[in-house]
Structure formats: structure tokens, C-alpha cells
Subunit: 304 residues, 3 copies
């Protein structure tokens, strides 16, 4: 593996177990003891769409492992993309300076096109409606770390399942485990056919629901996500659906004592603020897990 473009590269329980175990080690390690496998390298973060969370997490991980950092915070406006340069040429150019490229792009497939011509690793940090593989990995890692296992869990994915890249990727990567999935959304925002087809093919038990009322007390994990305005063409459509599923403390307290609530963040209104102090709320710890997962992944790519 050279590039990190898709969760499909990670449908291997042994590989995942090894990455997660390494991420656990990083969590336990004093920062002074981090290894420096990226020493004497420079990595670039190039974001054609803003994502502070993903960018800062990668940038911290990159520097923790010893590399220098160069960054394009707003590549949509401040790069040659605007002058009409192809993504392939941008990749060639970056190859002239750096040993790795972390790329976020609003268009599906752009990181993959960059990777196709790149001699240095390209990390897909989200490509529009496409994939966000490190998010899926950190989500899965959070489940593994917090529940001690993945097999045997009852996991609900809730919200705008139609447009949420995060939900799609997580469903795909969960499909190699023995889990029971609850896909909960308004009818018009249901999980796409291709994701369902994959779950069926992998033999995953799943339930398509429009309410969590009957299952909330049985869940081990509930994975929320905001309804993303930027994925809608009509603002009216967004307004009508954005409040479909709101997790309040009242609802959270119906869950099992050791259930966990996850959310890729930013949280807009899908989880009320009062839930933050509920012991089941693990979304901020989930973000922290992302740092260590990315460190494990970077180390893996550059040393194996």
C-alpha cells in the first residue's frame, strides 16, 4: 500500500487490528517518545475545501512523527487550480518538493487522480461525496477502543444516510465484521443501494428504519451525523429535513449504560449540548482518537 484513497484498501481485520493496536500505543506514549519515521521529510496538506478538523489532525500527526509541514489552507482560491492547472500537474509539482500529500477536494476522485501520477504517498482527506478513509478508520478505531471489540455489536447509523460520505464508508468497513446494523433515516434520505448491496453481499444483518424508538435501548453504538447543507441542491429540502433526528439527553438515557454515542463532528444540532456531559457521549474522544489513528497510519505507510 502506497496511497490511502479508500476504505476498500482496509477490508482486512489483521491490518486493522495492527493499526489500532499501534494507535493505542501512541495514546499511551509520552510525546517525547514518539518515533520519528518521517524525519527529514516534508509533507504537504492541500485543502481545496476547508476542514479544520481533518487538516489540523493530520498536521499534528505529521509533525509528531518528525516531518516538516507545508500547507495550502485554501487551495481552491490560492493555488494554480484556479488558473486551470490539472490535478495531475499539481501532483507532479508537489512531488518536486514533498514526500507526501494530504488532499481534500470537493470533487470525487481528485485525490485518486493525483495518486495515479504521484511517486509519493497521497492521502485522501475527503473527496466530496466520495470517500474519507481516515475518518472511517478513526470511527472504527473508536468503536474498537471504547467497546473493546467490534464483532457482536449492535450499531445504528442515524441521520442523512443518503448524502453522508461518513456513514457510507463506515457501513462499508463494518461489513467485514459480525455486526448488526440499524440504518435510521427519513425515507427520502435512506442509505444508497450500492451500500446496501455490499452489506447484503457481505452477509451483514441490517435493518432499515425511519425511527429509533423500537431499538434505542438495544444499541451498543449510535453514530450520528449532521445533515450537511452543502450536499443539498435546494435549500428548502435541507430546511425540511435537517432536524429529523435530534439526540437529546432524554433519548440518550434510554440507551444502555455502556452504549456510546459517536459523531464525526462538527455537531450542528443533531445532538443537543446537554448530551455532552452524558457518559455515553464519546464524540470528542473520537476526534482525539483520530490523531493517534493518523499517526499509526502515517507510520505504517512510510515504514512498511
Amino acid at each position: 500500500m502506497k496511497h490511502v484513497l479508500s476504505v476498500k484498501q482496509f477490508l482486512d481485520k489483521d491490518l486493522l487490528a495492527s493499526l489500532f493496536s499501534r494507535a493505542d500505543q501512541f495514546q499511551a506514549m509520552p510525546a517525547a517518545e514518539y518515533p520519528k519515521p518521517l524525519e527529514h521529510m516534508t509533507l504537504a496538506t492541500v485543502f481545496y475545501e476547508p476542514s479544520t478538523r481533518t487538516r489540523l489532525s493530520f498536521e499534528t500527526a505529521i509533525q509528531n512523527l518528525g516531518a516538516h509541514l507545508v500547507t495550502v489552507e485554501n487551495a481552491a482560491d490560492n493555488s494554480s487550480w484556479k488558473k486551470g492547472e490539472s490535478i495531475e500537474d499539481t501532483a507532479h509539482m508537489l512531488n518536486a518538493y514533498v514526500e507526501g500529500i494530504v488532499m481534500r477536494h470537493p470533487e470525487i476522485g481528485m485525490p485518486a487522480r493525483a495518486a495515479a501520477v504521484s511517486k509519493v504517498p497521497v492521502f485522501n482527506a475527503g473527496d466530496g461525496g466520495g470517500e474519507h478513509p481516515t475518518q472511517a478508520l478513526l470511527d472504527l478505531y473508536s468503536i474498537q477502543r471504547m467497546k473493546g471489540k467490534v464483532d457482536g455489536l449492535k450499531i445504528a447509523l442515524v441521520g442523512d444516510l443518503a448524502h453522508s460520505r461518513t456513514h457510507h464508508s463506515l457501513a462499508n468497513i463494518l461489513s467485514i465484521y459480525d455486526v448488526e446494523l440499524f440504518l435510521i433515516s427519513p425515507e427520502s434520505l435512506a442509505m444508497p443501494e450500492d451500500v446496501l448491496a455490499n452489506l447484503t453481499k457481505q452477509g451483514v444483518t441490517f435493518h432499515i428504519l425511519t425511527s429509533w424508538d423500537d431499538v434505542i435501548g438495544d444499541l451498543d453504538v449510535i453514530y450520528m451525523n449532521r445533515v450537511q447543507k452543502e450536499r443539498f441542491k435546494l435549500i428548502e429540502e435541507y430546511q425540511a429535513l435537517k432536524g429529523s433526528f435530534i439526540l437529546t439527553n432524554e433519548i440518550a438515557n434510554l440507551m444502555k449504560k455502556d452504549a456510546i454515542i459517536l459523531d464525526p463532528l462538527p455537531r450542528i444540532e443533531e445532538i443537543t449540548v446537554e448530551v455532552d456531559s452524558n457518559p455515553r457521549a464519546q464524540y470528542f474522544q473520537q476526534a482525539k482518537n483520530g490523531l493517534y489513528l493518523r499517526m499509526a497510519l502515517l507510520e505504517y505507510i512510510y515504514t512498511s
Copy 2:
């Protein structure tokens, strides 16, 4: 002290003397000998409003003391703020990655709200019409360093005293010293009541003036500031008042030989360029003092 949010945290002459003495040491020290109290840490600068001066000064200080840096140059456009994330959630998120947050925001109170949920230090790098504590500290440090003392000085604050956060904070911190203040502005841009009330409470002698003619020759320090367009609602109002007080070389030469001229910068037209070579002009050295003061402050926060 964990966070740095307000000058009110620094109304302690001993603490100030100790910070200023440490800043003096940093000025005298070769860069190779800077201590590294922030080693193995990452700090984030997150600017919801541009401020090159404050940002670069903090970023240089942070790196001088051994930390890695991640930055959001334009958080207003390039962060989840735009997607509707609360400042508290942003703070939680940053806590997942970094050991300190330097935040500039156009709205009063945002750094304080971030600090309220942050386990890592939050530094207020300016919150709209609110505070800019490190600016006030470097201003006071500049007076102390250049005049050798603060007590006993005659200090004029000149310009738009109504809207200038910098003038308010400096007046507040000067109030614990035995100084004589001259508050010089057009009538409509006079110092707000709450600042005056504090000066009265602290027993500071102050004079409200609409002209500097009668006092210019007696001053030890004159502290200018631009009339800030962004603080006005009506452009006409701004146009009418922006040139109210312009310090020319002719006027500067009426000052005592050892008087000093300060300005938080950027300087727009409140001081003419010819003054730059006047030996009383100390505003560029004042900016440099900001670097060392911020180093002293960072070291203090992370080691005491």
C-alpha cells in the same frame, strides 16, 4: 493562571515585573539558547479575523520555545464555524490535537467561551471590541523597558478612545501604577465611562482633553492609535474623524527629548512617515518587544 483572557488577570505589579524581566532576558539571549518549555507540544493559532502582526508574533514565540505549530489563517471562512459549529465545540475539537490555542475573534467573549470548556490554555489574541491582553502587556512592557519605570510618568492616550480596545486595556492596566493620564480625543470619541470609572476607583489622576496643545511638552509617553474603520457603522462618521489627531515631526519635536511615541500598529495616517526617524519614535521596537513578551508569557503559563 491557565488561560490568558483579560488584562484583569495581570493587575499585579510583581507578576508584571517578573514577566518583563524575563522578556528582557529573552531579548538579550542568543536564539540558540532559548529554553524549550513547549517541546513535544503543538499549539494552534486560530484567527477568525486577520491579524498578521499578532499571529506571526505568537507563531514565532511558540516555535522559539520548542512547540510545533498548526494554524488557521482565515478561520472565518475555512473552519466549521461557517457550518454552524459552536465555539465550545471548536475548543473541544482543538483540545483533541493541541496543547494550546491562540484565538482571535471579531466577537467579544469568544475566547472566554472557548476557555470555559478547554483543558489546554486559551490565549485571547483579540476579541472584537473586547480585550487584547497581550497587546496591553507588550505596551506596558515597552513603557517599562524604554523609560526604565512606569510610576511617575505622564502618559497620553490619543485618538479614537471610544472604540480602541487597545487604549481601554492599556488604561486599565496602567491604573495600578502611579501615573498621570491624558485622554485626548474628539469629544464624540471620548473614553467610555467604565474605563473612566475604573481610573477613578484606582485613584489615577487623569485629564480629558480635546487637544494636545497644552500638554505635549510635558508628556513622557504618547500612545497613538489609528481610527479603526471597522469599528464604525457609518462610513461618513469614519471619514469625518479619521484625521483628528495626526502626529507630525513638528509636533513630535515639541515633546521632551526622552519622550517616546508608541502605536500598536498598523499605522495608517495617525503618525506621518517622517516621524519614523525621530529618536522618540519607538513603535517598531514596541512590536519587537511583543515577541519577547509573548515568549515570557507562554513560558510562564506552561511552567508555573
Copy 3:
């Protein structure tokens, strides 16, 4: 030499040979062995006009040589420039924090004005229609490195010779060598008189052509450049001329086997993508040469 503002500072074959030889050494050197002449320094990149290529190249070079980096990716919007601060004041301010300034600006002469008041080195990273000296140096270095010499070569400059800063600077620096130049453009985009006058004065043989047909097979180097939309006042004028000279593989194959094709990039449509795999295509290697040339230049400025 303290500042790097113009190719005119480099019209010295010995100096150039020494820089190029040092750049060659850097290319051959493992990154772990780079010297650190900039250790304990901080350098700033301040870009009033976007240029990912130039900025990331400088930033990698700066960090490779041991300095810390602070950056203003979008100084046009995120700096005090917008508040009306003069470039001289910005330079004074930067001098308070950093040991070097890399500046890109859309207006001619801005880096020179900054340099005039700066005690630390200022590097012109492109000033509008003015100069881009490190680009000219890396272009010349690429010719020297790839052809083993400069004297005796037949070199064509092709495209919008009227507006291309890159072409002007390269012509000026080539004028001290014994080269034969072919200046190929539509009539309305011909090389400006001042550049021609300099070539004449230096005794360079040059040919003004509106077609490459008669000379393509004789060239050692062809230097293409995109027609830059941002240099035109009328969009119609741009549209009419942008496709004037397009280098296809068919044309490239008319060139000598050991001829080289250069382009400062971004490449828009002046070279078709199929040419990338032609062994004559050296424009991506040319970008890489820029990194090592800038390292050599930075080292030279800070150690000699």
C-alpha cells in the same frame, strides 16, 4: 548581496556557477545531511498573490536548512495591507519577528520597497509584471544541469513574450552567455523593446519569429509559458491569443533527440499532456530543480 530582488544581481557567471554547483550537491545529498545555516531563525513567506509552487518550494527549502517558518498564504485579504498599512511598515513589522522575508506581490516594486527599509533579507518571489529572480535562476540552472552547459546553445522562448515576466528575466540572464535566442510569438505579443535592447547591447544573436516551423529541429532548449489571463485587460484579447502556440508530441518529436522542453508551470494548454512522457519533457524536473536552487541561494545569502 543581502536581498534578492532582481536577476540583474546575478549577471556574474562565476557566482551562477557556484550556486548551480551547490544546488547539484544538494540534489545528491541525503536530506539527513543538509546543513542547517538557518538554524534558530524564523523566515516568513508573505504572499499578496497566490503561488503555491513558489511558496511551497521556498517553504520546503527554508525548513530543510533549519529555520522555522511562519506564513501568510493570502496576504491580500488577511494582512494589514487591507487596512491601509504601507509595505514599508509591513517590512518594519516583519523585521520585529523574523530573519528573512519571502514576498510575492501583484504590484511591481513592492519587494524592493520592503527591502529598502528591511534589515533582514527580502526575497522577491514575483512582483506582478516585474521580476521573479529565483524563477530565472532555476530556469538557467535547469538548462545548465540538463544540457551540461549554457554557452553555445540554441534556445527558443515561445508564447506571450510581451507579458511573460519569466521570459523577460530569462532573456536578461541568458544575455551574459554565448547563446543564440529565438523569440517566437504572435506579433502582438512580441518581446518588449527594453529586453531586445539589452540583448543587442550584450551582443547576443537573436531572431524574432512568428512561427517555430523553420527552427524547431535546430533547438537545444524550448522554453514555453502559458498565456496568462491575469495580464490582459480585455478577455477577448486573451481568448484570441491563448492558443497561439501549442506544443504537441508531433511537434516535440521534430526536435533533436537531446533537446529539452521547459515551462515554468502551471501548464495550461501550451503543452499537451501527451508530451509529458516524451523524454524531452523536463518541466517537472525543472520544478524540482527550483527547490535545490533556492536552498543554494538561501545558504549563500545567509552565510556569505
